[in-house]
Amino acid sequence: MTTRASAAPAGGGVPQAVYGWLLTLPAVLLLAAFTHYPALATLWHSFFTTPRGSRPARFAGLDNYAALRDDPVFWQALWNNLGFALGTIPVSIGIALAMALWVDRRLAGRGFLRMAYFTPTVLPMVAVANIWLFFYTPQYGLIAQAMQAFGLPGPNWLGSRATALPALMVVTVWKESGFFMIFYLAALQSMSPALREAAMLEGASRWQYFRRVLWPLLMPATLFVLVNALINAFRLVDHVVVMTRGGPDNASTLLLFYIYQVGFGFWDTAYAATLTVVLLAVLALAALLKFRWLDRRTHYQ
């Protein structure tokens, strides 16, 4: 494009560069103020103590990071978050794929199905969490009632250490699968029907067709969904706030929720900054994956 710089817009002799900078200036200033500056300030403040009352912040070197290393809650939050990602992502992807394959075919009631699958995506997570809170309620909730009908004791899903995090994972899978479905659907719809016919002529079974033809062709969509799901797993904690507040005993704490707790519950801003640095590192890793893989995608555009 720079080779076409000679075709400069007629701006009464104003050089292109001036226009370029002026047009980008408002957006760039705001981005710098609320993305780049806070990211750097987070790193900076992670090397200081939290100012308290009359005591100003003082340089603390790596003290906050040492505290982090020895903080069992931090490690639990991190492991919870990894488990949360590992538990939700493959299941969401599998369900999303099944949904897309079904909705792509001429099944009876396809319109209703697409609506049913996609609806959770447009609902606020807070609303969704409230509904599921009701769902999970001991004794009164639908799940408890269904289990009572079969004479089973209904556990306190959100109140026990073993089930709190999995219960949140179910909500996430329910909320996200329909969103991921549409990316598979887009990929499926861009495929030629001849592909399927050719595979059938060759005598391929349905599974072989899926394994050898569809799955490789859907790989760009899968990677896209994977990275997005990974970022969401570390970015979205609305359901934790509404449903468990990290409990019981930090069993369902996720990293961002812990940052929220430390920063705005205990007001330990320096330690919250240190935790945020870890979160930013995780997101940077996800971004790296994104650029390595997604920019090689060939099936879209």
């Binding site: 500056y37 806070p38 699958y117 409230n130 969103f179 970015r235 997101l283």
Partner: protein, 268 residues
């Protein structure tokens, strides 16, 4: 063949019903008297009582207004800023453009959503804590919007721009008369995604707001259901459905548009 087809239909419907179940359950509780909240009797009388009680029990009209103002303000700022920046990135040659664009893209992974502590500090310094303006401000400049619009602008044929220039149009006129109209589908897609995102946004508004005057609906709902209500599920589910209703109704009316927008904005 018909056998597998039947199995497919069965599986698809089972999943569909399972997926709609939580919402249907919430609707059941919201439209029936509290006595029926957890008792299923098809003949139970329907009522709007829970909605009326929720509406009066908390300042929901104000929350609705706040959320409406918030998404309007954010969208307007995003569209204006992203359009200008995307135009520059797509069509102007200037030193440092590519480096600047990379810096912009950085926001796609370092989202304001996770920079809570520092942005809170900034808002305190600016003296705008606990205002709607502060809820929206970090999102005014959107890397995502700039990226999408830049892609759209790049597909506009140069000849159209040349033609407009021959007629004496300046750069801004060319932008408004040529580029913006041609990128309309992208504007619709981005608009829908942005509105649903900010309608649903929760954590940052929860932190930065502290009063009825500035709280958006999501935070208002949380305050209402966690403190005011105890465990009156009928009223809570009514309030929940109420707060999701505008987006839900819009989605049911314009399903295709929604799905296509999310697709277009996601795939880029």
């Amino acid at each position: 063949m018909t056998m597998t087809r039947r199995l497919d239909t069965l599986g698809a419907w089972l999943l569909g019903l399972l997926w709609i179940l939580p919402l249907a359950y919430a609707a059941w509780a919201a439209f029936h008297a509290p006595a029926y909240a957890t008792r299923f009797d098809l003949l139970a009388p329907l009522t709007l009582e829970n909605f009326a009680r929720a509406w009066h029990a908390a300042p929901f009209p104000r929350y609705f207004l706040n959320t409406f103002l918030l998404v309007t303000m954010v969208l307007a700022a995003q569209l204006a800023l992203s359009t200008l920046a995307a135009y520059a990135f797509a069509r102007f040659a200037f030193r440092g453009r590519d480096a600047l664009f990379l810096l912009v893209l950085l926001q796609l992974m370092v989202m304001p959503d996770v920079l809570l502590v520092e942005n809170y500090r900034t808002m305190s310094l600016l003296g705008v804590r606990d205002t709607l303006f502060a809820v929206g401000l970090p999102y005014f400049a959107s890397a995502f919007g700039i990226f999408l619009l830049r892609q759209a602008f790049k597909t506009v044929p140069r000849e159209l721009e040349e033609a407009a220039r021959v007629e004496g149009a300046g750069p801004l006129q060319i932008l408004m008369k040529v580029y913006v109209p041609l990128a309309r589908p992208m504007y619709v897609a981005y608009g829908l995604v942005s509105v649903s995102h900010h309608w649903n946004n929760f954590l940052w508004p929860l932190i930065i707001t502290n009063s009825v005057e500035s709280r958006p609906l999501t935070v208002g709902l949380q305050v209402f259901s966690s403190t005011d209500q105890g465990i009156d599920w009928s009223v809570i589910t009514a309030a929940t459905l109420l707060s999701a209703a505008p987006l839900l109704v819009a989605f049911l009316l314009f399903q295709r548009q929604f799905v296509q927008s999310f697709m277009r904005a996601g795939i880029r």
